[in-house]
């Protein structure tokens, strides 16, 4: 697709001569942007518009319902219904708890590991990076299946090891759901973020570090006073995508909800609520309204995060 556009564009571009005119770059920019925005329109803008449209309607039946539903205009009724539903609101509290647990663990953990990798004492750096990164290649579905097994009391060597170590913990209980999901997400994404942090650490000017060492800075001081401030832009980037990723939380809790014994409910996160409304209760209007609300919250949150990071002078 792209090569075609480039081909026709080139002949056109050749007719005008070398000087960079505004029109010429305008045409080039348009030609390069068109394929993406055409697809973006088809696969995102139109569906979103459609979702907003759907969110304004509801289906009504009568009697025993044998004759099927009629679609009727519902105004903002689906929005008030979603907001008025405790299950939907609870989903956001769950997410808040999830973020409170997950984000510090993820960002802190990835930072510590990458700083350790960056010290002169670390060995086999390539191996460690790769080993930490590999879970990222595992589909969420399979990751959830693996961890369900590793959470199952009576089967899991991990649970029994924890028990014999005196820290018995039931990942399937209602207190255990949050740690259980956080752990799966951590497992999937830790290495990814370590690689990002480590690569930025590698980019830190070596002479700077040497100078600090000559000045007598130890490893701790090197890490906290020099390295971390220097990779703040990566830190903000990771933070932003971790927050957005948290809002998308879906596959792993869904698999845990079905047939594992976990106390994860069918409307545990807002996304699951939308899924359940659309696909289990066939309430498409409500599902669309819930989805629109989730997207709004996501937009708001990322706005806040980027604002926060911009003010700090970091650039992604």
């Amino acid at each position: 697709m792209s090569s075609k556009t480039a081909g026709t564009g080139t002949t056109k571009a050749r007719t005008t001569k070398a000087r960079t005119t505004k029109a010429r770059t305008g045409i080039a920019a348009a030609a390069l942007l068109t394929p993406f925005f055409a697809l973006f329109t088809v696969a995102m803008i139109i569906p979103v518009g459609y979702a907003v449209y759907l969110s304004l309607f509801t289906e009504k039946q009568s009697g025993l319902g044998f004759d099927g539903p009629r679609t009727v205009f519902h105004g903002l009724g689906n929005y008030t219904a979603a907001l008025g539903d405790e299950a939907f609101r609870d989903g956001f509290w769950v997410l808040l708890g999830y973020c409170a647990l997950y984000i510090p663990l993820m960002v802190g953990g990835a930072l510590v590991i990458s700083l350790l990798l960056d010290t002169a004492m670390a060995r086999a750096r390539r191996f460690f990076q790769l080993a930490l990164f590999l879970p990222h290649a595992i589909p969420g579905l399979i990751a959830a299946l693996i961890w369900i097994y590793l959470y199952t009391p009576g089967l899991s060597p991990v649970v029994s090891a924890m028990e014999s170590g005196g820290i018995g913990f039931d990942f399937f209980s209602s207190e255990g759901t949050l740690p259980a999901i956080v752990n799966i997400a951590l497992w999937e994404w830790l290495g990814y973020n370590v690689v990002i942090f480590y690569a930025s650490l590698q980019a830190v000017d070596r002479s700077l570090l040497e100078a600090a060492t000559v000045d007598g800075a130890g490893n701790w001081r090197l890490a906290f006073a020099i390295k971390i401030p220097l990779i703040r832009s990566s830190l903000m980037l990771v933070l932003l995508f971790t927050v957005i990723g948290s809002l998308q939380l879906f596959t792993e809790p869904l698999i845990l909800n079905r047939g594992s014994g976990s106390a994860v409910t069918s409307t545990w996160t807002p996304n699951m609520y939308a899924y359940s409304a659309a696909f289990e209760r066939n309430d498409y209007g409500l599902a669309a309204a819930a989805s629109v609300l989730i997207a709004l919250v996501a937009a708001l949150l990322s706005f806040v995060v980027t604002r926060f990071s911009n003010r700090k002078g970091a650039r992604a």
């Binding site: 080039a28 920019a29 993406f36 004492m121 670390a122 690569a199 600090a212 006073a225 659309a278």
Partner: protein
């Protein structure tokens, strides 16, 4: 590392502040202490690696087991070794439909990721190298796309596919896979980092058209970024089961992920599916793992949102 040196643009800005601070800690430490910290550092790294690797080991050992030992025995062993049987089940079930799925996945992920990377790089390049009206607003629109929950899009996409008669065809899965706003975001950063404006200027002076400059110079220079976007989009398409689940009903068109999800859902009532799911999963992640191992250089370089010096 042989990858291009990646430098964080903020690094230089901050330099002076920290040089002025004098550290009170005296240089030079006892060797015993040093040995201790070395052990500690590598010990922590080792623990982290064990944490990420041992579930993968589970996948390998579990794939060798029959249903009984998988669900009852000690999975981290090779007791009840039945890999041959599991593999033959996989090949023989419904005339080897599994490998048809495998082929489909290669098709969806291969073409989808290739198309997506090209389209994203073209757009990212345009965002980086050109100035036009409403650019940042347009870019913000792209970023908003990153935020949309995929579950929110699937139902409208399905209804649209029905309207256009593309439901239950390759297109219904392939076209949405070509779009990844995050890819454009990355491509813009890569373009800034990998393609120096001087190189383009030189091409222009040589008389190359704008699109030719992109095609023969820009695209070549941004290759590590291209590979990164390709690799991550490939993984995303390969692992996505939700969109195919909504779109496809013809088994012949299924990607692996959906086929495995189907089997997993069946395993609930028929545990003989369990070994097929697990063995199938192992085979499914193998190409991804190989790709990530062999292309390490590229994605590691690509992952850093920095710039080439």
């Amino acid at each position: 590392m042989t990858s291009p040196t990646v430098v964080d643009p903020t690094a230089q800005l901050q330099t002076p502040n920290h040089r002025t601070g004098r550290a009170p800690v005296p240089a030079g430490r006892p060797t015993a202490n040093r040995w201790l910290s070395k052990t500690a550092v590598n010990g922590v790294l080792l623990i982290a690696a064990v944490y990420t690797l041992f579930p993968l080991i589970w996948l390998v050992t579990a794939a060798t087991k029959d249903a009984g030992n998988l669900l009852g025995g000690d999975v981290f062993s090779f007791e009840g070794f039945d890999l041959g049987h599991n593999l033959s089940e996989l090949t023989s079930y419904q005339d080897g439909i599994y490998f048809q799925w495998y082929g489909n996945s290669l098709l969806y992920a291969g073409i989808g990721a290739l198309g997506c990377s090209l389209v994203s790089v073209a757009a990212g390049y345009a965002f980086d190298k050109y100035r036009f009206r409403g650019k940042e607003k347009l870019f913000a629109l792209v970023l908003l796309g990153v935020l949309l929950p995929s579950t929110a899009l699937s139902l409208p996409l399905y209804l649209l596919a029905v309207e256009t008669g593309t439901v239950n065809t390759y297109w219904s899965v392939l076209i949405p896979a070509l779009v990844n706003p995050f890819g454009v975001y990355l491509a813009r950063i890569f373009s800034a980092g990998y393609i120096p404006d001087e190189a383009l200027e030189a091409a222009r002076i040589d008389g190359a058209g704008e699109l030719r400059a992109f095609w023969s110079i820009g695209l070549r220079m941004i290759m590590p970024g291209f590979v990164t976007i390709f690799l991550f989009q490939f993984t995303a398409i390969w692992n996505n089961f939700f969109l195919p689940l909504v779109m496809l009903s013809d088994r012949e068109l299924y990607p692996l992920s959906l086929g495995l999800f189907n089997w997993h859902s069946n395993a609930n009532a028929d545990p003989t599916f369990y070994p097929m799911v697990v063995t199938g999963s192992l085979l499914a992640v193998t190409p991804l793992i190989i790709a990530f191992v062999t292309l390490q250089r590229h994605w590691k370089a690509g992952l850093t949102a920095g710039s080439v010096k």
